[in-house]
């Protein structure tokens, strides 16, 4: 039987975590508040709006990135929504503020989504908002989300309606 790791016995996080701990905690608290908010009288999809909004806000740093790792049903029963990916990505790749060790630890502990960050590193996917938007198998014609279409190729006055919420409310 593997050892049970409690808060007391766990290994300490790598150096530098104290610096970013407050910000991450803030993200987590906001998200938890949104998740635990009452859903009385709301429609099924409306429940998710504040969650996406916060997720979006936290990742607006350098683009529109925000993502949901779990499916919709899981979100509804209180699944984990990761919102700090862009923050962690920036700290490691743009500002070089955190060590490789800490970055790996953050990924492992669910502060950021590794698969989404993996996409951001590819050309053309720098501002991908969520993995769902490039998941072709879920759409009728095996295409990506409308938000992946460049603006100049959109029709005049075409509004973007995404399943993962409005793209850019600001």
């Amino acid at each position: 039987m593997p050892p049970i790791r409690s808060a007391r016995t766990r290994k300490p996080p790598p150096d530098g975590f104290e610096d970013i701990e407050d910000t991450l905690l803030e993200f987590g608290n906001k998200m938890k508040d949104a998740e635990n908010a009452s859903h009385e009288g709301k429609k099924r999809h409306e429940v998710l709006w504040p969650i996406f909004q916060i997720s979006h806000q936290h990742n607006m740093n350098s683009g529109c990135g925000w993502e949901v790792r779990v499916s919709w049903d899981e979100v509804l029963i209180g699944g984990v929504v990761i919102s700090g990916s862009r923050y962690v990505y920036d700290l490691y790749y743009e500002k070089e503020a955190i060590s490789k060790q800490l970055y790996d630890w953050l990924l492992k502990n669910g502060y950021a989504d590794a698969s989404l960050i993996a996409k951001w590193k590819k050309q053309g996917y720098e501002k991908l908002c969520c993995l769902r938007c490039i998941q072709t198998k879920e759409t009728n014609f095996n295409s990506t989300c409308i938000c992946r279409v460049p603006k100049e190729q959109l029709k005049e006055n075409q509004t973007i309606e995404m399943r993962c919420q409005e793209k850019d409310p600001w």
Binding site: P12, I20, T23, H58, M60, N61, Y87, L91, E94, A97
Partner: protein, 613 residues
């Protein structure tokens, strides 16, 4: 709270000329004095002088007098106020300004223009009645809308005015609002925005609920409707209370109105002007900033100046002469960075949270870069540098051993009376016991060792400490070491812990005093010092440049204000001249006619002509 919208005027100069005979001085409820002449029944805020050497236009005088008589407190209080004079109730518009300039002209700064100082140039919102509406069904009552969008009712017969609508008038106001809305929707239909076939009663309710939504779509008129539906709600809840209490409850709404006032004026200047033009009453023309600017431009054109030149001519001269230090792009960036440094901003936070915090926005240097995008770029560059710097610093300074606080803790609390599990349970809440940097196993080991050593005789412990002190290298422990900053090698040793501080510290001090001084001290090189001095100088220069820029802007603003009031004064003078000229012309003709017809004019007609319009 509902604040008084009246701007308290400056105390009059110490030495005041004596009042002319018949005039008396009084204090208004708002605290400033006005002057009243019992003989002519005039009252004015401007202090009349015995021998008036400047010509005070009679119209102005009358307006000021009117103002003092009727609304001396400028609607600052919520209680009903009584007016003496009623007919077309509120007309004075530009005279609020003229009074100010009259008062401040005694302070210096240029003749007619007067001009306010830089400090009082920021005008407080001044409320004054703007439009009057008849309320259907309650004939003596009229609904008056003020410049800031507040509304009150006024009884033209008894001269009473109320912020809070009396119940009988309330119905009329609701009816009036309904009609207003209907008109609005009729216009909307004319534009083809769609018809509204909801019954009126229902719409009333809808507007109560969804007034917020409406506000965005429809403009001023609809806003009136919305506020109207707000007011009934409030009154219902407050039915039967005295109006004084109303002040607390409704203050927020009024405050809100005042805040939005400025923006609205900026956005909807033209439409508002149009409205006053179409107003049925024969109001004197209102001059607002736009008009003045337009007039100035027109005057400039008359004199053959390029647009912009007429205003800036003086300033350009000034700028050429006393040109401050230039503020280049790097300087703005550096200023912004200085600001971030000075505020001790955590470089690990996000830009959004920084902005939300709002601390830096209040700083002057926040405005140094022109756009938020530029600011954000500077911010991200700064964070990168700052984090690198922090990391360097951290590497340089010796790492603080996490064991030191724990060992100090042990020294304080460990007793042979407690086993480790007991000790652990007792102090589990302490920060030293929860620190993740030290593992639980290690803690236990240290505890057991320490407890075992406590049982040893004092002499052994002393000799152990002496051995430990001797074993330390001269570079770590030397004469310059102080008791407050002992080397970690000493602090983390179990032998250091074993003795109580009152025995241990004198021993260590004694040992340190016998030690030779530190081998070589490597301080800062001269180059580094020079670099630091240079950077300090640069920073000072940038701060100075910003200050000078600020001063320049201020100067320019002041100048513009001066020009504006000067232009205003000229305009008024010209107007007066025109009027005078016209009156005289008619009079001359009449006297001529009277002479021809045998001098039997009715005196009443003559009198009416005599009084200036």
């Amino acid at each position: 709270m509902l604040k008084s919208t009246h701007v308290p005027s400056r105390p009059p100069p110490v030495q005041q000329p004596p009042l002319p005979p018949g005039w008396t001085e009084h204090k208004a409820p708002t605290g400033h004095s006005y002057y009243y002449s019992a003989a002519t029944q005039q009252s004015t805020y401007t202090r009349p002088v015995a021998q008036p050497d400047t010509y005070i236009p009679p119209e102005l005088h009358a307006a000021a007098a009117y103002r003092a008589q009727n609304i001396p407190n400028a609607f600052s209080i919520n209680q009903p106020f009584h007016g003496g004079l009623v007919a077309p109730p509120f007309q004075q518009q530009q005279h609020g300004h003229s009074q100010h300039s009259f008062q401040s002209s005694s302070r210096g700064r240029g003749g007619l223009g007067g001009g306010h100082g830089y400090q009082d140039r920021r005008r407080h919102p001044e409320d004054r009645p703007k439009k009057r509406f008849e309320i259907p069904g309650c004939s003596p009552w009229v609904l008056v809308k003020t410049k800031l969008g507040r509304r009150f009712v006024h009884n033209t017969e008894s001269g009473e005015s109320f912020w809070k609508f009396p119940e009988k008038v309330m119905k009329g106001v609701i009816e009036f609002d309904r009609l207003e809305r209907e008109k609005k929707t009729m216009e909307g239909r004319g534009d083809g925005t769609g018809s509204n076939d909801v019954p009126l009663g229902k719409r009333e309710e809808q507007s109560k609920e969804g007034q917020r939504d409406k506000k965005g779509e429809v403009d001023v008129g609809a806003k009136a409707a919305a506020t109207a539906s707000e007011i009934p709600l409030r009154v219902e809840s407050l039915a039967g209370t005295v109006p004084v209490e109303d002040a607390e409850d409704s203050s927020d709404e009024y405050e809100e109105v005042e805040v939005t006032d400025d923006e609205e004026e900026d956005g909807k200047g033209p439409s508002k002007r149009q409205r006053t033009d179409s107003a049925p009453e024969d109001q004197p023309v209102e001059f607002n900033e736009d008009d003045i600017a337009y007039q100035l431009a027109a005057m400039g054109e008359e004199h053959g100046l390029d647009p912009g030149e007429h205003g800036d001519a003086v300033g350009e001269d000034w700028e050429e002469g006393a040109e401050g230090l230039p503020l280049s792009e790097e300087d703005t960036a550096a200023l912004f960075r200085d600001m971030l440094d000075d505020h001790n901003i955590n470089p690990y936070t996000t830009w959004e949270s920084l902005i939300e915090g709002g601390r830096i926005i209040e700083d002057d240097r926040y405005t140094a870069p022109a756009t938020t995008k530029a600011r954000k770029e500077i911010w991200s560059a700064w964070t990168r540098d700052r984090i690198a710097q922090l990391r360097e610093q951290r590497e340089k300074q010796e790492k603080k051993d996490p064991r030191i606080p724990y060992l100090a803790f042990l020294q304080k609390y460990a007793t042979p009376k407690l086993y480790w599990p007991e000790f652990k349970r007792k102090y589990k809440k302490e920060a030293e016991m929860r620190d993740t940097k030290v593992s639980d196993k290690e803690r236990e080991r240290w505890y057991r060792e320490h407890i075992n050593r406590l049982k040893l005789p004092q002499s052994t412990l002393r000799s152990d400490l002496a051995a430990l002190l001797k074993s330390l290298a001269i570079s770590t422990l030397n004469r310059s070491a102080s008791m407050a900053a002992l080397p970690p090698a000493l602090l983390t040793d179990i032998r250091y812990l074993s003795l109580t501080p009152d025995i241990r510290d004198p021993l260590i001090e004694l040992h340190i005093s016998t030690l030779p001084p530190a081998p070589v001290a490597s301080g800062l090189t001269t180059e580094e010092e020079e670099e630091a001095a240079r950077q300090r100088k640069e920073k000072e220069r940038r701060a100075k440049a910003l200050e000078q820029r600020e001063r320049r802007v201020e100067e320019e603003k002041r100048r513009q204000e001066r020009d504006l009031s000067f232009g205003r004064g000229r305009l008024r003078e010209e107007e007066m001249e025109l009027q005078r000229a016209m009156t005289v012309g008619k009079e001359g003709l009449r006297t001529q006619l009277g002479y021809l017809e045998g001098k039997d004019d009715p005196p009443a007609a003559k009198a009416s002509l005599d009084t200036p319009v």
